[in-house]
């Protein structure tokens, strides 16, 4: 029997509903395009719903590096009582803290509110591409069957470059022939935390806490600790190498990890997120491996929540309050684009004439167990992400946004964070919408980068004017 496939047509198809995808879809729709957003899971927002803070929005110096959609998103979180805002870790970062439950509402409001047609629970199955690099569409699969979604422009916000890989584009994994990937994590939350006690402990035993990896925060360690305590937020980075964590690991009360990163997510619930669990050696595009990871990760959650309750002041009466909706993935495939952002570029804070988004997170490569490579962006500033990093080579109407951008492993380790992903998403979505305005659209590269940059600035993006 021949089976029937339905079809639909749209200006812009966005695949993936994480931070990059929701920014891309919303921006494309706001700029006049008809947009379909396909997401495999039951919710929009991706890692914004995990509880980890939004990194890469403010530079270490404190300048806003991503505006536009990100600002709208934070405003929406605030409307749902879920916005704490900019918090300094006095280590290397200014992060933005949101309530990962409010973020679900914010993502839905913004995406649907922009008029995007959303298909959740829908898996991108196959890419239909011509030999000359045109992605004609994507065949998706859900409970209703298979649908060919044809689009003038396709944006790959899958995180894993699934569409680019499906279209036959060249991709990279790891570095220098070593396919090792950063570990996967399961973020969890604890409620009823006494922030004042936690900070008093930080003041008494500062050797357990990493501060001042970026030297601009304070003249010395003591001043950084004082600043962290005075800030009054439970934003604490317990670090391997400190006696508390090292002893617990040595005694088997904790699994080996480089950090226990504590971040405020709700004042009303006195709740924090904890980013610490890790399983290395998982290729998250291998579904069997990824599926198994939740076993060890869920054990680590139980271990660490007990460790916090028994060993970290401020957590005596705290309770485990939630697990992230899914295992968090730092690194998989990256595309090879027209431009490849490099570690040298990001560390130097390099600016590009065709920059369409900014990154400012530190170089941040988590390793196995206690391994972790971190380095600052020059002067605590920002670097530009050029348009060419979103354009897979030898394709005409495909853009990527998010952690599958074209970058080497070092550059990826900073641009992978959600602030940068939202910046890239807004740029990709806006470029895709602007392609509609061309007389004879053949290649997304026809979109004038100067005009794209102007449009992005008009719509709140930060592209220049900061270190």
């Amino acid at each position: 029997m021949t089976t029937k496939m339905s079809s639909m047509e749209t200006d812009v198809l966005v695949v993936g509903g994480g931070s990059a995808g929701i920014a891309a879809a919303t921006s494309a729709a706001r700029n006049g395009a008809k947009v379909v957003l396909v997401e495999a899971g039951p919710m929009l927002g991706g890692e914004l719903n995990s509880g980890i803070p939004v990194d890469g929005v403010y530079t270490a110096r404190g300048d806003l590096a991503v505006g536009g959609f990100a600002t709208d998103f934070f405003d929406a979180c605030a409307r749902y009582d879920g916005f704490i805002g900019k918090v300094c870790d006095y280590r290397a970062l200014n992060v933005v803290c949101v309530d990962p439950e409010a973020s679900k509402l914010a993502a839905i409001e913004l995406v649907y509110g922009a008029g995007v047609q959303v298909l959740m629970y829908t898996f991108a199955d196959q890419v239909v591409a011509s030999a000359d690099g045109v992605v004609e569409g994507v065949i998706v699969r859900n409970k209703r069957g298979r649908t060919l979604i044809r689009a003038r422009v396709v944006i790959d916000a899958t995180g894993d470059a699934d569409i680019a890989a499906g279209a036959g584009c060249e991709t990279m994994v790891g570095e220098g022939g070593d396919p090792t990937l950063q570990p996967v994590s399961l973020v969890f939350r604890m409620a009823g935390v006494d922030a004042a006690r936690l900070l008093a402990f930080v003041a008494e035993a500062p050797e357990n806490v990493s501060v001042l990896e970026y030297p601009g925060f304070a003249p010395d360690r003591a001043a950084a600790i004082a600043g962290l305590v005075a800030q009054g937020r439970p934003k604490v980075f317990l670090v391997a190498g400190g006696p508390l964590l090292d002893t617990a690991i040595a005694e088997g009360r904790m699994y080996p990890t480089s950090m226990v990163a504590i971040t405020p997510i709700s004042e009303g619930r006195r709740e924090v997120s904890v980013n610490t669990t890790r399983v290395a050696g998982v290729d998250a595009t291998d579904t069997s491996q990824l599926s198994r990871a939740i076993d060890d990760l869920s054990r680590q959650v139980q271990t660490c929540s007990r460790f916090l309750q028994t060993s970290v002041p401020g957590f005596e009466d705290a309770v485990l309050s939630a697990l992230a909706p899914r295992v968090g993935i730092r690194e998989t495939r990256r595309i090879v684009g027209d431009t490849v952002l490099t570690g040298a570029d990001i560390l130097a804070g390099r600016k590009f004439d065709d920059g369409i988004a900014k990154g400012c997170h530190e170089l941040d490569i988590h390793g196995r167990e206690t391994g972790h490579r971190r380095a600052n962006i020059k002067d605590g500033g920002s670097y530009d992400i050029p348009y060419g990093c979103l354009l897979p080579k030898a394709t005409k109407n495909l853009l990527v946004a998010g952690r599958c951008l074209s970058a080497d492993r070092e550059a990826h380790s900073t641009a992978r964070v959600m602030g940068s992903c939202m910046g890239m998403g807004q740029a990709a979505g806006t470029a895709a919408a602007m392609a509609r305005e061309l007389n004879a659209f053949e290649d997304i590269r026809q979109v004038d980068v100067g005009a794209l940059r102007a449009r992005l600035r008009e719509q709140g993006a930060v592209l220049d004017g900061i270190a």
Binding site: E101, I108, R141, R144, R269, S291, D295, S298, L320, R326
Partner: protein
């Protein structure tokens, strides 16, 4: 060049990791079968993670009617501090309240202990049949396509996806486009139970109470007992002045109820079951996806209403959304037997029963509409294996809300306690069907007495309980 399919084989493959699926997989694995559990999402547990209580575990009399896997899961939750308790709503049912976040961990722990293998993020794309057998399912995920063969398959997809794919006959909603509403459950923390119950005691006209003829107590006695129970377990009803006025004034969307249940004593947190968009066919993915903005508008509307109008919620805060939209009703597979609403309401017992139900017939409609009919005598009814075996497919079982029932019977048996009982029954049956010299995975010829004996040995409740 297209990627080749990979292949794998297991004795038993369970599709769908909700309440029915985890029970089925655990039972199959514990009884010796090499068992794979497949789910389309990133975690296991389905609606157990939503925050709504587990209905159907006890009858109205307060007698446990589901044991076995359900009790193991509750014990696992309890050991982590995630079991709040079993409570009577003094309306018509007992509910079991757990912390849905601890439940995520408890489910993983239980699957690990049972020796279940699991494959997440995986969509069942095709069903491969040979005559009246299911040979395999083709699963789609980021690794490509895998042909997974097995001796026995168990469809716990909620929607009967595998059975329908294998050509099984099915019924759909009321047959004329009506489906029970979909719901987004949400949670609020920092609730003052004392104040809430004081309000319940002072203004009981707002509560749904004493709806079951087995409850002999007067409304006043019900209120006193509910307050004495000491937990935030109340049903605000549409007919009460608080809701009816607020709905009429446009301050609250039309809804039959606001069901409040405790999920965490330490966090003083409750789940609220109230939002609704009716008559959506949840197997229509575009239609299901399109309900999201209306549901979250209702969520935000309701949490503001609770804070403003319901004592005990003055200082409460929004604490979370269920991981996904909750679905009450889609397809029902036509099995070798069909459970009837009359049998459910009469509490009919069967010598060949392999699971028990006890939830009232509970059919939500649009707006304030809801059918609620109690089981006779506050008791329970039996579900025979034939309701879990699709007609004419010999090695496929179904468990959960897609089992074979008319719409009224489904309105009772769709709840998680009953789903777990069904899951344990078919998982055990599947293991027995594979525990033979030449395992053919055929389920219909399993001696029911042997299955019942095994289920009873493993804690299932099959006899008595009114």
């Amino acid at each position: 060049m297209p990627r080749p399919y990979s292949t794998r084989h297991h004795d038993v493959v369970v599709i769908g990791g909700g309440a029915a699926g985890i029970a089925a997989a655990s039972a199959a694995a514990r009884n010796g079968a090499d068992t794979l559990l497949i789910d389309a999402g990133p975690v296991m547990g389905g609606e157990l993670l939503s925050g709504i209580p587990i209905d159907g575990c006890l009858n109205t009399r307060g007698e446990w009617i589901v044991g076995g896997f359900l009790r193991d899961l509750i014990d696992e939750c309890d050991a982590m501090g995630g079991f709040v308790g079993a409570f009577f709503d003094w309306r018509t049912i007992w509910v079991v309240c757990c912390d849905p976040e601890m439940m995520k961990l408890a489910v993983v722990n239980q699957m690990r202990k049972a020796g279940v293998k699991w494959l997440l993020y995986s969509f069942v794309d095709e069903v491969v049949t040979d005559g009246n057998r299911v040979v395999g399912v083709v699963v789609l995920n980021k690794s490509g396509r895998t042909l997974i063969t097995a001796n026995t398959f168990i469809d716990c997809s909620g929607d009967g996806d595998v059975a329908v794919g294998a050509g099984a006959e099915f019924l759909h909603g009321d047959g004329a486009g009506a489906f029970q509403p979909v719901t987004m459950v949400f949670r609020m923390a920092g609730v003052d139970t004392g104040r809430l119950l004081k309000f319940a005691g002072e203004e009981p006209e707002n509560l749904a109470l004493g709806e079951n003829p087995w409850i002999k107590e007067s409304r006043e006695e019900c209120v006193r007992a509910l307050v004495a129970q000491g937990y935030p377990k109340i049903f605000l009803r549409a007919e009460g002045p608080l809701l009816s006025k607020s709905i009429a004034a446009g301050e609250l969307y039309p809804t039959a109820l606001i069901g409040v249940t405790p999920v965490s004593t330490q966090r003083r947190e409750v789940a609220l079951n109230t939002t609704r968009v009716a008559n959506v066919d949840a197997t229509d993915t575009a239609a299901l996806s399109a309900t999201m903005p209306a549901l979250i508008d209702q969520v935000w509307n309701c949490q503001a209403f609770m804070k403003k109008r319901v004592p005990g919620f003055e200082d409460a805060v929004f604490a979370g959304l269920a991981p996904r939209i909750g679905i009450r009703e889609t397809r029902r597979i036509v099995g070798r037997e069909m459970l009837r609403g009359d049998d459910v309401l009469a509490g009919v017992k069967r010598a060949d029963g392999i699971a028990k139900g006890g939830h009232h017939v509970d059919i939500h409609g649009g707006g304030t509409d809801q059918v609620r009919q109690p089981i006779a005598d506050g008791g329970s009814y039996d579900i025979p294996l034939g309701c879990l075996l699709p007609k004419d497919i010999e090695n496929l079982a179904i468990a959960g809300r897609c089992f074979s029932a008319d719409r009224r019977a489904h309105g009772s048996a769709r709840v998680m306690g009953t789903c777990m009982a069904m899951g344990q029954a078919v998982g055990t049956a599947a293991a027995l069907a594979n525990d033979r010299n030449a395992p053919d995975g055929i389920l219909a010829d399993i001696p029911i007495a042997q299955l019942r004996t095994r289920l009873l040995e493993q804690g299932a409740i099959l006899d008595g309980t009114h």
